[in-house]
Amino acid sequence: MIIMKKFILSVIAILIALGSGSSALAAPSEFSFQASMNRTVLAVGETIQLSLTFYGTQSVGVPSVPDIKGFNLRYVGPATRVSIINGKVSSSITHLFNLTATEPGKYNIGPFSMGYKGDVYTTQAIPVEVVKGAVPPPTVTRSVKQLPPPQQVNGSVDDRVFITLTSEKNKIYVNEIVPISVNLYVSGLSMRDIQYPQFPHENFSVNDFTKPSQSPQVLKGVMYEVLKFDSSMYGTTPGDFTVGPVTIQGNVISRAPLSRRGSIMDDDDFFNSFFDRMQVYPVSLESDPLKITVLPLPQENKPENFSGAVGNFDFDYQVTPKKVKVGDPVTIMFTVKGKGNLNSVNITGMMDNDDFKVYQPHVVKQEDGTKVFEQVIIPKKEGQKQLPETDFSYFDPSQTKYVILKKGPLQIEVLKPDKEERIKIIDNPKTSQPFAVEEVLGKDILYIKGSPGNVEKASRLPFFRDPVYLGINAVLLFMPIAVFLMRMMGDRFKNDRVYAGNVMASRLARKYASQLKKLLRSQDTGKFYDGVFKALQAYLGNKFRIPAASITSSVVEDTLSGRNIEPEILELIKKVFNDCDMARYALSNFDRAAMEDTYSSMEKILRNLERIRS
């Protein structure tokens, strides 16, 4: 069990050390030392927590705390914290002690002193009351709606989270700005999803709340984290009014202890709190209302042109340019600067007269305590012109009197317009015509065409159905294929001798067959057999790639044997060659019947040999 505790404490120590290391990067801030308790009333046997917090540093060791009468003191450990609020970095270290009450009575915890960098810092003393039996419930002055179940939140929630609404003054004049602030106090709890304050403010005009600031604050010996929302408001009607109450919505995060039975750490407060689990409860916090009296502005000594400005202001009056031509615009600037209600600041401006065409003044800037009005005037006549004295009056609530500020008069020089230049009428775009009028265009069909254009026959077929077009397409599309095939055949004829011989033999066969048929018809026996002999020689020579002149009847068998020629055809070839030889010497023996017989033999030979692949 001891080993287990040591292990867990080591892990926590490492985490704290890591937190401390990261805070070293934070810029140092002002040092302070505060003591706080999480409760100030407790029963005998209960434990409260004493926090000794050092702001502006994290390099402070465990302070030595003397024994406190009526309490058992035990050091729990350090807790470091780095916060960045509105870009400002602050760091702190809190050393936590558990005080367990042993005797009833009223005690003062502290004051505690600590030396840091040569200075001694001392906290205030915290009064604590220890009672017998149960702790009485505290007096509730503020309400917290939708509270978490009481058994899940230690102590009274009203004391640990509440809001206040305060104003600097409770008695103000009409239009007088008064700062107000809403403070959210949180102790021993965490809040998140905090919404901006809301409150009823009839008869008052309220500005938006600024971004809240966060700071620690000790109240009645209890340390609170305070979230401060600042704003300002002014009364619009005299009378006694109530402002608020202010409400703030948010979620409270509270520890709910886990139900553990027989745990090894049941007897240790530190581990009891360590193993608590967090629960979120929505809350609606409500402050006490604020009573404000709004006084009417005094009628006594009220200036004639007073327009309602309340505060403390300065006034300026300028004109640019100071040298212009007739018809050119001149701008007058009225600047009101100071503390107070700028919404109530107004000026009359220059009035229309014979020398100037005058436009209404308008606000061009209202921020950071400054309100600027601009008025455009156009000189009508040349010469030295004077812009009259102008004044601005306001009521100063701090002095309870009206103040009148006067400026001017101002001089400007108005020159003649150029000869060619006529007087320009310039309209101030902000006062006269702020938006361009959109031109409305007419809509209709465009006019007819003047000529028929490209005329076509309606009856003409579209190209994809036109036989002429399709024929041309077929030819064109076949051309590349034809060229490709011819080139392929030509290449083969060049490179493949067998193929070339066969092709040539076939061509010769067809050629000689045609010629022999003519000779047969003419019955010229000599020429016929001479032709048969040459045709057979040429055909066999090309077909079997042998010299044609060497082929005779005597060598036919030797030359053509072994070339897959049927014996009958081989005999027929020999016979035709013999007939040709005989015809040379005994021409009279060959009549037409013999010639036809030779021709048919020749046809049979060629037909058979064409089927043979040589």
């Binding site: 809509k443 209709d444 069909i445 465009l446 006019y447 007819i448 065409k449 003047g450 000529s451 028929p452 254009g453 490209n454 005329v455 076509e456 026959k457 309606a458 009856s459 003409r460 579209p462 190209f463 994809f464 036109d466 002429v468 077009y469 041309i472 397409n473 064109l476 599309l477 590349p480 294929i481 060229v483 490709f484 080139r487 392929m488 290449d491």
Partner: protein
């Protein structure tokens, strides 16, 4: 080589003869006369003369444009849309015809298309929208010819395959794209129609007593799928089909 040049010259002359034809003197005269009637706001008279030219078999984009204008002026937006569609089919780059077409469409309440074309197909159709049907056919033929030539050269042993094989692939894609566009045009040829009557009832069966399935508005574009006894089966943009009387629409 000289023979090849002569052949190509002949083919070009034939193409030119196929593409170009002039208007007859009568047509030109009638066209001017109809224009004068239009200028005098005699739209019915102008329509008669323009229709006479159309009946004579001589048509042009300008003729259909002027007919469309006459109908638009008469407030007959369905017939105007048909004629602007015809004008654009013959002269797709006529910006005036396109402007009037859009104006009349908006006046007619932006009637429905046959089927809204989306995705890649819409890009393809847009790519070739500036071409007439014949122009698209010629484009397809040229691209196909180049594809076959490139493929033949690439397939030839020892040929410059490194250049012509990628070129063949490119032209294969071009053939597919132009083929898609051409098919779309051919599919609609003689079948796409515009409703020219107001509030046309589309029936389940091809006779007047049949139950009405849905209605079509003047200017709606439909595709004719079948014709029977003076009734035509049409399909509209959402795919629904039904029968309408043949005199309620005009083929583009």
């Amino acid at each position: 080589m000289r023979m090849v040049k002569q052949n190509i010259r002949c083919l070009l002359i034939i193409f030119a003869a196929l593409l170009c034809q002039g208007a007859s003197a009568d047509s030109v005269s009638d066209f001017s006369r109809a224009n004068e009637m239009y200028a005098a706001r005699n739209y019915d008279g102008a329509l008669d003369v323009y229709s006479g030219i159309e009946s004579s078999g001589e048509v042009s984009g300008n003729l259909f444009y002027n007919i469309g204008n006459c109908y638009a002026k008469k407030g007959m937006y369905g017939k105007a849309i048909v004629n602007y569609e015809r004008a654009l089919a013959l002269s797709p780059q006529d910006t005036e015809a396109r402007a009037n077409y859009k104006f009349v469409l908006s006046e007619a309440g932006n009637p429905r298309e046959i089927s809204p074309v989306t995705g890649v197909r819409s890009y393809i159709l847009k790519l070739f929208s500036a071409l007439t049907l014949n122009g698209l056919t010629v484009t397809f033929s040229i691209v196909l010819f180049i594809l076959i030539a490139c493929a033949a050269i690439a397939a030839y042993p020892g040929g410059p395959r490194q250049i012509f094989l990628p070129a063949a692939l490119v032209f294969l894609i071009a053939v597919v794209i132009s083929g898609v566009a051409l098919k779309d045009r051919i599919d609609g040829l003689g079948r796409d129609a515009i409703i020219v009557a107001k509030n046309v009832e589309v029936k389940f069966e091809p006779f007047a007593q049949s139950t009405t399935y849905f209605d079509l508005e003047e200017g709606d574009k439909v595709r004719i799928n079948d014709t029977k006894d003076g009734w035509s089966r049409v399909i509209r943009s959402d795919g629904r089909q039904g029968w309408v009387a043949a005199d309620t629409f005009e083929i583009i």
